[in-house]
Symmetry: C3
Subunit: 171 residues, 3 copies
């Protein structure tokens, strides 16, 4: 019920939400996820990206030690180094030739690199959230990620976002 003595505040319309689970750590899937996330943000949507399992590789620091907790964690993260500049194509990697060709094509088409996409997403207000459970499984600590990345959160947090979202994708 409206209180007549207090002037009514113009109510801000709720933004439509979009939530993307990024499970895969390949360059092509990362690009697809960021194209959708930044397009959604440019359309005025409130976008959350939730990075799990191999998707965590996309957000790892490009420089510095590989991270990882304990001997096994260190070992796993040396093998599975990650970082936006080390991602490979899911097909036609061909010892790096296919991946390099795709990078050239993206540049020729004026498409940002994964690195630039992360910065752009951050600037557009896209939330990039590492899954806390996956970090446990992968032996990863919060310091392993780049500065653009938000706090860790679990599956319940993701599902609560997803159930309010107009669009939810698992990539």
């Amino acid at each position: 019920m409206q209180n007549k003595t207090v002037p009514e505040q113009p109510k801000q319309p709720e933004k439509e939400k979009m939530t993307i689970v990024v499970f895969s750590g390949e360059m092509d899937k990362a690009i697809a996820a960021f194209i959708l996330a930044t397009t959604g943000a440019s359309m005025g949507m409130d976008v959350s990206m939730f990075f799990t399992f191999w998707g965590l590789n996309i957000l790892k620091n490009n420089e510095g030690p590989a991270g990882g907790k304990g001997l096994m964690g260190k070992l796993l993260n040396i093998m599975n180094r990650g970082g936006s500049k080390r991602l490979k194509l899911s097909h036609f990697h061909m010892l790096g030739m296919g991946t390099a060709m795709m990078k050239k094509f993206m540049k020729d088409n004026k498409l940002p690199s994964v690195d630039e996409f992360i910065q752009m997403a951050k600037d557009m207000g896209v939330k990039m959230i590492p899954c806390s459970t996956s970090c446990g499984i992968m032996g990863l600590q919060e310091g392993a990620f780049r500065d653009e990345v938000g706090s860790l959160a679990g599956a319940a947090y993701f599902l609560n976002e997803a159930r309010q979202s107009k669009v939810t994708l698992f990539i």
Copy 2:
């Protein structure tokens, strides 16, 4: 407001929408996508399939040159030839033996081939839309696709469909 002198037109109820991103170009994922798309259409849904990255291979012409713009584009599309009849399984391709076995199983179970599914989807009004950004990255032009395929469209078009959809999948 209703005009009383003109008989009211019975308003067509809006069809429920379904939107599928087809990112993968493997035979098994293509079949899953088309089973869902044609089932949705048969249930009265308005179905759009949005083909990106490797998924574009499904819609490429089976005959004629491989397509591709410029030397690099031509090269990429010769290696990554595509066409509904050249798709492979994501597992157990086994130099073609596994893929051939799956094709035989599908025939025995009276399931359409990918080629027949594309025709069936078209006949049922399913929209098959190649992603314009992916076409740029892959060096592909509109002529590379079969006749059943609609005009190219970008990520904003897809997201606008998806936000109105009851079901949205990324395959």
Copy 3:
């Protein structure tokens, strides 16, 4: 309108639905699917998991014959044996070393195994439904699956659940 002579039944609010298509049969994707399914159930959601293609492997009996109808079906299911204890990682399987390392990490982090997840999901009321069409393609009969698994159902059943769901994922 309320009938005043009959005491009003407290109406059970409809539970929000979540539907997951499990297409992939890899250990990491299975774990992701079950983390989301059991988290959803613990949040009070009504969760259905719909297993298709390689995802059927997750639900196959760990013991006994491989199953499969006819000579070809038997052969296919011997090669593609499945069972929750035989699943491999999608990356870094490394002749079993990577998969074993991940299993150790999960145990160290007190995360259930896929086998335990299936039991837990069942106890929490998560429906686990094999796709009847996929069973046909894979030459599989109902007896090939473990006891926790529900009856087979087709794509129309899935889509009807999905269109009523707040969250739908294809994994």
